[in-house]
Structure formats: structure tokens, C-alpha cells
């Protein structure tokens, strides 16, 4: 068997793939966080809960309405996004004039309440969610065997990230969004409905988290705890990348996912904490984050 640095190539590639998959979810989630933070100046602690909600909506759609993966891929983000928009309208919109920390605390409470409710109803154990028929099986790439579903997750998440980035950089809506990020009062004076834009943006961020949740459902089990496990890591990703640039958030997500995968090969004990260690090092060398502008 071929070896690299004393590790079989198969194992190395396998863990790199796992890293890439994790990185896809980090990227999708930090993308949503960055979009929300950019406009609303709120760190959405409920992002993990919304990711979990996406997975659960997919699971419930299948169990009670017979709607499969592809339907859920569209419906679940829509439902989570609408719920997010409602939360923004009812609660978050009242917090914009306050210290941004209150937004963090509110969404933290929201996350606890959502996760607590799901744990109350479904218990802590995970529910299985089958891989869709069309994506079962695996293909041999010559140097490794790639399960089709995992390949799909990597490609799809990359496509979503690029599409979102293009939508923000190249479309009229994106231009409004960026303008409102810079100077909401002025944009409002030009006749743009900024409060609506805020609601839509939070809904969009929540929908992205929901989408990530649906894609995660067949890989990880659908469990009420899946959100809180990932959100703290995503916070570290966001600190490393800096929330100034959308592209930065995405690139950092993939990069740190890969670092985590590599650590699993060479020093498995540290794989849980490697992202936090990287965060600490980045803070020492570049306090503003890799892609961040100094606040």
C-alpha cells in the first residue's frame, strides 16, 4: 500500500474527504452568519438551531407527508427561512438600536428554546435519514472510492456558495444589500425599503442554514443536538476568517474543514480542538482575522 508520511494514502484521502464534507457545512453556515452579520450587525446564535431545524423538517416531511429528499431540499429551507423572517419581524427588529450583544443573547435563548423543545419531543438520540435513491452507491475515482452522496454534498455546497456570492456581488438586489450594509439611512432615503431588506436577509441566512441541515441529514443523524455541536466551531471559523468578506468566510470554512481532516489522520486526539488552536494562533498573528478589515 502506498504511504505518505507514514500514513496509508487511502486513510489520508478518506479523512481529507471527511474534512471537505465538514468544511462544506462550515462554509455554508459561516456564509449565512456573515450575510446576517453584515447587514443586521447581529451574531445569529440560532444558526445552529436553524441548521438542525432544516434536517428535522426534512425528516418530518418524509415521515408525515411522504416528501423525499429533493422536495425537502426546496421546502425545508423555505420553511426555516420563513420562520426566521417571522422571528426577525417580531423580535430582532426591536433590538437594532441596542448593543449588538443583546442580539447574540436573544438568539442564544432562541437556540436553547428550539433545541430544548426538539429534545423534549424526540429525545437526544439521532434519527436516521436515508440517502436519496439517485445518489446511493459510490464511484471509483482510481485513487479512491467516493460515495456519490458525499460527492454531491461537496459540489452542491460549492455551487450554493458561489451562487450566493454572485447574487450579492452582481445583482441589483445584492447591490441594495451591500449599500444598506454601508449606510442604511442613505439607502432608505433613496426609497429602498430597508426594514423589508433586513427581514429578507435574516430569512435568507436562516434558509441557508436550513439547506445545510437538509444536506447534512443523510450524513450525520438527525438529532436535536447537531446544531449546538457545530455552531461553536463555526464561530471559530468566523473569527479566523473575519466577517468582512463573504468569500473569506467560505474559503476559511473549507480550509479549516480540511485542517480538521488532516489532524484526524496525524494526531486524532487533537481533531476536536485543532480549529480552536488555529483560531488562537490567528488571533496572535492577525487579530483582525485572515480576511478581516480592522473593525
Amino acid at each position: 500500500m502506498t504511504m505518505v508520511f507514514g500514513v496509508p494514502v487511502q486513510a489520508l484521502l478518506g479523512q481529507l474527504l471527511v474534512g471537505l464534507i465538514n468544511g462544506s457545512f462550515y462554509a455554508l453556515l459561516s456564509l449565512g452568519l456573515a450575510i446576517i452579520f453584515g447587514l443586521l450587525r447581529i451574531i445569529n446564535f440560532a444558526h445552529g438551531a436553524q441548521y438542525m431545524l432544516g434536517a428535522f423538517v426534512a425528516y418530518l416531511l418524509l415521515a408525515y407527508a411522504g416528501i423525499g429528499y429533493w422536495g425537502a431540499l426546496i421546502l425545508a429551507p423555505l420553511i426555516v427561512g420563513l420562520a426566521g423572517a417571522a422571528i426577525e419581524r417580531l423580535a430582532l427588529s426591536r433590538l437594532y438600536d441596542l448593543d449588538p450583544l443583546y442580539g447574540l443573547l436573544f438568539t442564544f435563548g432562541l437556540a436553547l428554546a428550539i433545541e430544548g423543545s426538539f429534545r423534549y419531543v424526540y429525545g437526544s438520540a439521532g434519527q436516521p435519514y436515508a440517502v436519496p435513491q439517485a445518489l446511493t452507491g459510490a464511484r471509483n475515482l482510481g485513487f479512491m472510492v467516493l460515495p456519490n452522496y458525499r460527492g454531491w454534498v461537496v459540489v452542491a455546497s460549492l455551487a450554493v456558495c458561489i451562487a450566493t456570492w454572485l447574487a450579492i456581488e452582481k445583482t441589483k438586489f445584492g447591490a441594495y444589500l451591500r449599500a444598506a450594509t454601508e449606510n442604511p439611512t442613505l439607502v432608505r432615503a433613496f426609497g429602498v425599503n430597508v426594514p423589508l431588506l433586513l427581514t429578507f436577509t435574516y430569512g435568507l441566512g436562516a434558509a441557508l442554514a436550513g439547506l445545510a441541515g437538509v444536506m447534512a441529514a443523510p450524513i450525520y443523524q438527525v438529532s436535536p443536538l447537531m446544531g449546538s455541536n457545530i455552531i461553536i466551531v463555526v464561530f471559530a471559523v468566523v473569527v479566523v476568517g473575519g466577517m468582512g468578506s463573504i468569500l473569506g468566510a467560505v474559503v476559511t470554512g473549507y480550509m479549516l474543514g480540511l485542517c480538521e481532516g488532516l489532524t484526524k489522520v496525524f494526531y486524532p486526539e487533537a481533531s476536536n480542538i485543532v480549529i480552536f488552536v488555529i483560531m488562537a494562533i490567528v488571533l496572535l498573528i492577525r487579530p483582525a482575522g485572515l480576511f478581516g478589515r480592522t473593525a
Binding site: 448593543d99 443583546y102 435563548g109 433545541e115 429534545r119 423534549y120 488571533l283
Partner: protein, 326 residues
């Protein structure tokens, strides 16, 4: 946190203050005979923890989302020192406090490099890293935690297995911690912290080395949180992962927010409410997480001054605090 209005200490009438403290002391002395002593000790530990957290949030304006690391970390250090090294309780607590302070120095040093929301996220991430360390390190015994920690003899003399002796020890620790926090907030150092909270740039322009003040406040807060955690380990005779998890960090924020950020007794009141609520919910099968989450949302939306803050804002509260009505 900008919209929390603090009671200016200067005009507070001294007599009323002393009366309040006397009432508190009487309560502290009577409590173990009225309520289950273990519950009161638990409450005092959490009250001190919340007050230590409030030292950072209420006076320096820094929201740490990782204070469980110091609370739970100290519990582990003390439990290990007492059980494995056979130290006496007071030395064990000292080990816990020193460990928490050292941990606070590292976390604080990294976290103060960023402000506001990033500060919160960094403390959360570093505390989570410490959680994973505790999950895997040998001396913490992973999921089991350190069990059967002996309470031992205080100074080699007083047997802490006597419930009243243990209660006395916890009460003294609590009072000492509260006095320390009060002294810190009223000192010139505390004034400078408040000025940094109000306007960091202006403080810098006045020649104050903002970073070192923030770091000092962070270490003090961590050490006091450690004092609470170390004491809790002796009371319950175990140290587990629950005390280092992010949920615990959230809980102490809720206690402070619910009681009143930036007030001296707010965190104590908040800790009492949350601990009592959890005790009550423990007997039902309704999960406390949901209640805590809803309490958070309610506090942030409608109740940002907390119980004590709202009381102080009423007519009666203003009179009590000895302030002229404005």
C-alpha cells in the same frame, strides 16, 4: 452594554446600605435552618459565580461566553488536588483559584485582541476547547468526572463533613468574594474599568492602557469564578463536565441578566431565581433548557435591566438607593 443605567455609588446613603447588609447577613445565618442547606450552598456558589461574571460584564462591559471554563476548571483542579494530592480544603480551593486565574490569563490575553461580539465568540470557542480538553484529559476521568471528593478538615482542624461547618465555610467564602468584588468596583481601578466600558477610545486617549486593565479585570473575574467553582466541588464532592460546558456559560449570563447587569445584588438575585427554578423543574419532566431559553428571550426583549435594575428604577427603589428623583 450601553443602556444599563447604574446606580451612582457616591450618593447612596450609608445607613441604608448597612441596614441592607445586616438583613443579608441575618438571611445568610437563618437560611440553613429554614431551607435545605445543600440548596443554599449551591445557591451561594452560583451567586458568587454570577457576581464574578458581572464584574466583567457589568463594570468592564466585556461579555464573556466562556466563564464556565473557569468555574468548572477550578472545580476539577480543586477536586484533583484534594482527592489525589491529599491537600486540605483551603489549599485545594487555592489550587482551583490559581488554576482558574492562569486559565483566565491565557483566554483573556487572546480574547481582548478583539472587541464586542468577537470577544464573546472567542471566549466561547476557547472555553469549548477547554471542554474538549477536559473530555479527553486523563485526570478529569472523562464522562465520569472526579467523584467522591473528600471534604476534609479545614486547616486540618474543622471537619467539613459536619453540614453546619461546611455551610459556614461556604458562607465565609461567599462573603469574602462579594467583599472583594465590591472593593474592586469601588476602587480607582473599578472606576477606570467603567470609563473603558463607557468609551474605550476616550480612555485610551487619556493615557490608560486599556488592554492591561481589561486583562486584569478578566483574570480577577476568572479567579473569583474559580473560587465559586472550587467551593462547589467541595460541597457536592464531585467535578463533572456539566460545569465546563457552554450551557453553564449561558446560564451564568442569564443569572446576571435576569438579576440586573451592573448591580451588586442583581447577580445574587438572578442566581437565586435560576437555581430555584431548576430545582423546581428537576422534579417535573419538563426540560429546563426550554424555560431558560424563553427566559433569555423575555429578558432581552422586555426586561433588560433585570429584577434589581427594574426595582431600582421605580420610585421606591430610587428612595431606597438614596438617590434624588430625576
Amino acid at each position: 452594554m450601553t443602556d444599563v443605567v447604574l446606580a451612582p455609588p457616591a450618593k447612596r446613603s450609608k445607613a441604608r446600605g448597612i441596614a441592607l447588609i445586616a438583613v443579608g447577613l441575618v438571611l445568610l445565618a437563618v437560611a440553613p435552618f429554614v431551607v435545605y442547606p445543600i440548596f443554599v450552598m449551591k445557591l451561594l456558589c452560583f451567586a458568587l459565580f454570577a457576581a464574578a461574571f458581572n464584574l466583567l460584564l457589568g463594570y468592564a462591559g466585556l461579555l464573556s461566553f466562556g466563564h464556565a471554563a473557569f468555574f468548572g476548571g477550578a472545580a476539577y483542579f480543586t477536586a484533583h488536588a484534594v482527592k489525589e494530592w491529599g491537600l486540605t480544603p483551603e489549599l485545594g480551593v487555592l489550587v482551583g483559584v490559581a488554576g482558574a486565574a492562569a486559565l483566565g490569563l491565557v483566554v483573556g490575553f487572546l480574547a481582548i485582541r478583539r472587541q464586542g461580539i468577537y470577544f464573546a465568540m472567542i471566549t466561547l470557542a476557547l472555553a469549548q476547547m477547554f471542554f474538549f480538553f477536559c473530555l479527553q484529559a486523563r485526570f478529569t476521568h472523562g464522562e465520569d468526572g472526579i467523584q467522591g471528593v473528600p471534604r476534609g478538615h479545614l486547616f486540618g482542624l474543622i471537619d467539613l463533613n459536619q453540614p453546619l461547618a461546611m455551610y459556614g465555610f461556604v458562607a465565609v467564602v461567599f462573603l469574602a468574594g462579594m467583599v472583594a468584588i465590591h472593593r474592586i468596583t469601588e476602587s480607582p481601578f473599578g472606576m477606570i474599568l467603567k470609563s473603558i466600558r463607557e468609551n474605550e477610545r476616550r480612555a485610551t486617549s487619556l493615557g490608560i492602557s486599556v488592554g492591561s486593565y481589561k486583562l486584569a479585570a478578566f483574570v480577577m473575574s476568572a479567579a473569583l469564578a474559580g473560587l465559586a467553582g472550587a467551593t462547589k466541588a467541595l460541597v457536592f464532592q464531585f467535578a463533572t463536565l456539566t460545569d465546563v460546558g457552554w450551557q453553564m456559560s449561558g446560564e451564568v449570563i442569564l443569572m446576571t441578566l435576569l438579576g440586573g447587569i451592573g448591580t451588586m445584588i442583581g447577580p445574587v438575585v438572578g442566581a437565586a431565581i435560576v437555581t430555584a427554578l431548576e430545582n423546581y423543574l428537576a422534579t417535573s419532566d419538563f426540560p429546563p433548557t426550554i424555560v431558560i431559553g424563553l427566559a433569555f428571550m423575555l429578558c432581552v426583549l422586555a426586561f433588560r435591566r433585570g429584577v434589581v435594575g427594574e426595582l431600582l428604577a421605580t420610585r421606591w427603589g430610587k428612595r431606597l438607593a438614596g438617590r434624588s428623583e430625576d
